[in-house]
């Protein structure tokens, strides 16, 4: 803020750093320990890949990992696809109930996931869909949709409508205008939304937990089960891996979202 003492300024900045320290402390500790040879956190610290190698032999975790990745990829495609369509509609058309439509996007984010997950469990069982990866996909897409619509919508706000008009005056048919102008302009937003959807699914625990039948699970669900049974350093290793992957994804998303070739 303008004015105020320099001393005060640095105190405040120092506080910010402390906050960041607090936010990253457990993550850093956990990640470091994943590379420590000792299974019980005994120091001195000896760098080793032993727990990661143990992971490679853990078939359950590997299968769960593959499930997670596959599910996240499917979620990314579906959620981004239908979310983008919806975002286009909300941006282009003057709809009478638009405010209502936008409010309807809130439940997945504001209702506790516990309730959403258990209600899905009830409903899917009742109508015969049951549990499983397909059920989880249904749930993950529902959770990702609001985010996709918001992210793509924000990107569309740049007035792609007028660009299509310009394309039309230059002789482009509506299809050509969409393909050559709207789509490329939208693309960074769509890709960013896709990454976001992937991350939302990959990290999703609660919904997957309720919709996982015995024998089929995703990585977070496996980790939870393992934690409840008792600590093993392998959990540490896989956790470190996951957090690095999801933070990495988010970093890419952040760059795309901000520097998406806009004017």
């Amino acid at each position: 803020m303008t004015g105020g003492s320099a001393w005060g300024k640095w105190t405040v900045r120092g506080y910010l750093l402390l906050t960041l320290l607090f936010l990253y402390l457990p993550i850093v500790v956990m990640t470091l320990m994943a590379f420590n040879r000792s299974p019980l956190y005994q120091l001195p610290f000896e760098f080793d890949f032993v727990w990661f190698r143990a992971l490679a032999g853990n078939d359950r975790l590997i299968q769960a990992g593959l499930n997670s990745v596959g599910l996240a990829a499917a979620n990314m495609v579906v959620a981004t696809g239908i979310g983008t369509l919806a975002a286009i509609a909300l941006d282009r058309y003057r709809i009478r109930g638009k405010a209502l439509l936008q409010i309807l996007l809130f439940p997945p984010i504001t209702i506790p996931w516990l309730i959403i997950g258990t209600s899905m469990l009830i409903f899917f069982f009742w109508i015969g869909i049951g549990r499983g990866l397909h059920a989880m996909l249904l749930g993950h897409v529902a959770l990702s949709l609001p985010y996709v619509i918001v992210v793509v919508g924000a990107r569309l706000k740049g007035g792609s409508h007028q660009l299509e008009e310009a394309a039309a005056t230059l002789g482009a048919t509506p299809w050509q205008a969409f393909w050559r102008v709207s789509l490329p302009v939208m693309a960074p937003g769509v890709v960013a939304a896709g990454l976001f959807a992937f991350a939302v699914s990959f990290d999703q625990f609660v919904i997957s937990y309720f919709l996982a039948p015995p024998g089929v699970s995703t990585l977070p669900v496996e980790i939870y089960a393992a934690i409840r049974k008792g600590f093993t350093p392998e959990i540490n290793a896989i956790s470190a891996l996951i957090i690095l992957v999801s933070m990495g994804l988010m970093l890419v998303f952040a760059r795309l979202y901000r520097f998406g070739g806009e004017r």
Binding site: M30, G81, G83, I88, P112, I122, W126, S239, M247, A254
Partner: protein, 287 residues
Amino acid sequence: MKAAARRRLALGFLLGPAYGWLALTVLLPLAAMFYFSFLTVAPVGGRIAEPTLRHYAAFFDKGFYQTLTWRSLKLGFDVTVLCILLGFPAALALAKYVSGRWREALFLLVVLPFWSNALVRTFSWTTVLRDDGFLDRAIRVLWPDAEPLGLLFSYPAIVIGLVHAYLPYMILTCYISLQAIDDSLIEAARSLGASSLQLFLRVVVPLSLPGILGGVLLIFVPVIGSFMEPRILGGRTGIMLGTVIEDQFTAVFNWPLGAALSFIMLGIVLVIFALATPLLRRRLSGI
């Protein structure tokens, strides 16, 4: 009219899949759960269910559930207040005391953990808080004879884990509000003779209230319904309304009871929203 029909078709094609999906996976299940909450047993596997109010009645009869709800609300309150106290200054620092590339980078750093895996983050706290974990060892560096803190599997551990998980939310919403405060407003206040404290209380806080309230709503609700963090970090002391609801679905298989409790929780959340909205509107109207 061809144009109007075409428009309706286009809208249906564009909006249909997304909202249809949401209806199928969010709205209908909620309705189904509402229905279930009035049944004696879950009508699956060939069982016949009768309508009943006894699950809702159980909430009001058994003191246990009310204590539990109270605990969950208290947890929500504690976590939210701590998030405000810790997060607001951080947001202030980001919005007004840092600029340029540093601001973008730090902002990203703050938000990054938030968008990573919640389960893993909770788990990472166990490695720090456990007996002879990182925290104990760090303390022993300064006080070699210290006893293990025994933080893990206690209420404070749950609070720490939840604050850690949701703090970035509060920082984010406060940051958005704070950085919308024009520097010229602050300069104007100073030119009128306001001290830093007056500036803070009379200008900054009121203008950032929407951000704070937004953060409160986004934090309080999920915390009330949390079960993963209480279980992992609280162990046996981590019994909350969320964990009991979870039990109904994974251990006890009393789905109707779980459904009823869920809707009671939802009802509490709605009541809080309803109470908050006029407050919000009054505060926001002056902006």
